[in-house]
Point group: C2
Chain length 118, copies 2
């Protein structure tokens, strides 16, 4: 079983974190997946942490998790922090697959999305 | 003359800020606009600031600027910081139009973009 984990920055504003949770639900719906196949985690300021979310996945029998850094630019969170947290979990679950996707800002379709918003 | 100003968070990593600048160029290209019609500004950690970018626009004769908060969730930067900076500039240029767009994470097309990345 595969799993998508959307990793967002996290905010002190709970409405902001809820926005990411709602988005995850919409993505599961769009992909016609059960809601639990698309989870969220937060780098800071909100829960669950990346470590907790990945542990939960693996403990529930998931073999592979695709981690999508939900960040717009390759700042230190994308380049250093998220990969470091993932590496730490991977070392505890050597038989599980954690696939780190490019951050969302790198998606080719972003140009069109912004142009449409404008 | 209208102008798009993409406001990103800003990073200590210059490569991250350059990523936003490159994106602005691609958006201008996509919209078939001169490159200078799509500018970037940063909330913190990088230049130009929102204030400087808007001042530059208005001093060069632009009458209306659409500001796109290039943020994924409505955290305090989107809800408080960006609007506050814009209001401060607007008070200095009462005859100019600053149109604040919804943050990019609110775009309906984001669900499909993420689903495709996955």
């Amino acid at each position: 079983m595969k799993q998508l984990l959307i990793v967002a920055h996290g905010s002190r504003r709970s409405a902001s974190n809820d926005e990411i949770r709602v988005l995850a639900g919409k993505i599961a719906e769009y992909l016609e997946l059960p809601a639990q196949r698309v989870q969220v985690a937060f780098l800071e300021l909100a829960l669950p942490s990346i470590e907790t979310a990945l542990n939960d996945c693996f403990e529930s029998g998931i073999d592979e998790v695709c981690v999508l850094p939900y960040f717009l630019a390759s700042g230190s969170h994308v380049v250093t922090d998220v990969p470091r947290e993932i590496a730490a979990v991977q070392s505890k679950w050597p038989d599980k697959v954690i696939k780190l996707l490019p951050h969302i800002g790198a998606a080719d379709a972003m140009v069109k999305l912004i142009a449409t918003a404008y």
